[in-house]
Symmetry: C2
Amino acid sequence: MARDSQDTKRRIFEAATAEFTTHGIAGARVDRIAASAGANKQLIYAYFGNKRKLFEAVVAEHVTRVMEAVPFDPADLPAWAGDIFDFFVAHPEIPQLSAWHSLEPGESKHRITIIEEAIALRTRQIRKAQSAGLVDRGLGPAELLALVNAIARTWAVVPPERNPRRGADARVLKRRRAAVIEATRRLALPGDP
Amino acid sequence: MARDSQDTKRRIFEAATAEFTTHGIAGARVDRIAASAGANKQLIYAYFGNKRKLFEAVVAEHVTRVMEAVPFDPADLPAWAGDIFDFFVAHPEIPQLSAWHSLEPGESKHRITIIEEAIALRTRQIRKAQSAGLVDRGLGPAELLALVNAIARTWAVVPPERNPRRGADARVLKRRRAAVIEATRRLALPGDP
């Protein structure tokens, strides 16, 4: 029984990820999520409350997965940025969900606790690494964190004009990955002017 | 008569900008645009064809305005990035429309000609500036252009967790602007290692 419930939640999570990635929050339909998950719509409401809360649960779960798969390393931000780049190539739905979250914050800006906490923690970690001389001090820790994040996802959610006509092939991806690492190195590595 | 028609088009443009910024392409309603513009819905279809084409016309017009207001300068990318940052602070709807365009490319990736042409032209200009020794050659011209773009819009469309609780005040904006310019300098200025 407990396992059945876990299976159902996993199917709902996967169906909700696909639905929100394609349609965003306003455009997502809980009926379609229910049908695709083979679950009862009322059950989804019982588990998650409402569509907005389901979205936030889905985003929070993906954030947790990213943090586990690509641990943040303030002492080697270039490598971290390269790994995040790879992760987003493999999981394009994650930066897309994040973009929906940015565009559709809802009436009263919905903050997701795990994201707020990760930003606060990482900012402190960078500040500490700057004090220890492991990270360049030319940029403030909050600004550096935001910039490295932006650099790592430069090609993650882009208008169609920014992608090569036949999609990004291995050669293009390799060049972009190297550019992300080199750009982060120039921002983060101590000793750079 | 011709002036009336220009006035109507301007009102439709403004109403469409607001509607698409808030609701995206799928979520936008042509009835709401017509009501807000005080124009006839059929007239909008006569002018623009359909909702998707209206969106593309709106984006193309904003892109033209950005290019006129902040001319691209391959020889001084840091200053250009700072000016783009300012422009997006003053006109947050523009990066938001661009984000919708990225998330909702539609069935068959809708490319907007003026954007494709601007990217191609700017890439050539950067390559030329690199050859002339005005821009660092450590990154390829296409990658450098995309990265500087991403850096300039680091805070333009962000999840609510990335903004200070009471909105970005003048002090925060000043620090972010300086960080955008400094980050671009490190990527673009020749002579940096």
